[in-house]
Amino acid sequence: MGLYEFLEKNSIYLVLIIALIVWLSVFGYLLRVDIKLKRIEEKLTRLENKGSEKR
């Protein structure tokens, strides 16, 4: 029995695959935003430190 036939007969697994893809996409997006925000935060801290050194 091929994968297509299996999923056709057991459609709950197709829903499972879709749910997993949705979650992994959301998770990947959140992780990406988290990393980007950390980088911005570090840059801002560096700029603030430079500013206070100048003064």
Binding site: F27, V33, L44
Partner: protein
């Protein structure tokens, strides 16, 4: 970072288990009861998020700290998102259980009204430009809006007859979540899912409020240097 990846795997495992574990026979629901692992935690999380929004609203009114306003708005946004997920997953489930996506069941009506109430919150925020005024008005609105949440989520759908499990006149007496008369497998996975959703909410809340706080800090820096 390691903990976040662990959380991602945890939710992925819960998603897989939600579709494969035996959940026992639930009259009138059958396999469709599996929606409980996604639909109910997102509904509960929307209540938690709206509560947090009200909490930071109160804090803002006391402290006048703009970061409290940011946290209040961030939590309301995430609550709205979870409320929307609840509505969409519920509508898909309704199509297979009741035959149509929307039936104006008391539960559907109450969540729709809740979406409208919090939709108006965002309209209010976007309509006011002065930060302090925006913060004060939206804090007051978030307090008043939260007063309606327990009524629309927990009371109204249970005192009115309807199609949703747990409504008044439900032939089973109450829905499986209301009475917690669940199969042991189902109960464990349900609470595990609730914990996972809670952690995702906390992560999203941190990200959303942090991005907004950073935006304010950068704007202040540009203003000071320009």
């Amino acid at each position: 970072m390691f903990l976040k990846i662990l959380l991602g795997l945890y939710i992925a495992v819960i998603t897989v288990l939600a579709f494969v574990i035996p959940i026992g026979f639930i009259p009138g629901l059958g396999e469709r009861a599996r929606i409980i692992f996604l639909h109910v935690p997102s509904a509960w999380l929307s209540v938690v998020a709206f509560f947090v929004s009200m909490f930071y609203g109160i804090r803002y009114l006391r402290s006048r700290n703009i970061y409290d306003d940011v946290k209040s708005a961030s939590s309301a946004e995430i609550g709205f998102l979870f409320c929307f997920v609840t509505t969409v997953t519920g509508a898909i489930w309704a199509k297979f259980n009741w035959g149509s996506f929307w039936n104006w069941d008391p539960r559907e009506t109450s969540i729709f009204v809740l979406l409208l109430i919090y939709g108006a919150y965002f309209v209010l925020r976007s309509a006011i430009e002065v930060e302090e005024r925006k913060g004060t008005l939206s804090a007051v609105y978030s307090i008043i809006a939260f007063v309606t949440v327990p009524f629309f989520i927990f009371i109204m759908p249970r005192i009115m007859p309807g199609l949703h499990p747990g409504s008044k006149g439900d032939p089973e007496g109450a829905g499986p979540v209301v009475t917690f008369k669940m199969d042991p497998n189902m109960r464990i996975l349900f609470f595990a899912s609730l914990v996972g959703f809670m952690l995702v909410y906390l992560w999203m809340f941190k990200l959303r409020s942090k991005s907004e706080i950073l935006r304010i800090k950068i704007e202040n820096k540009i203003y000071q240097e320009g």
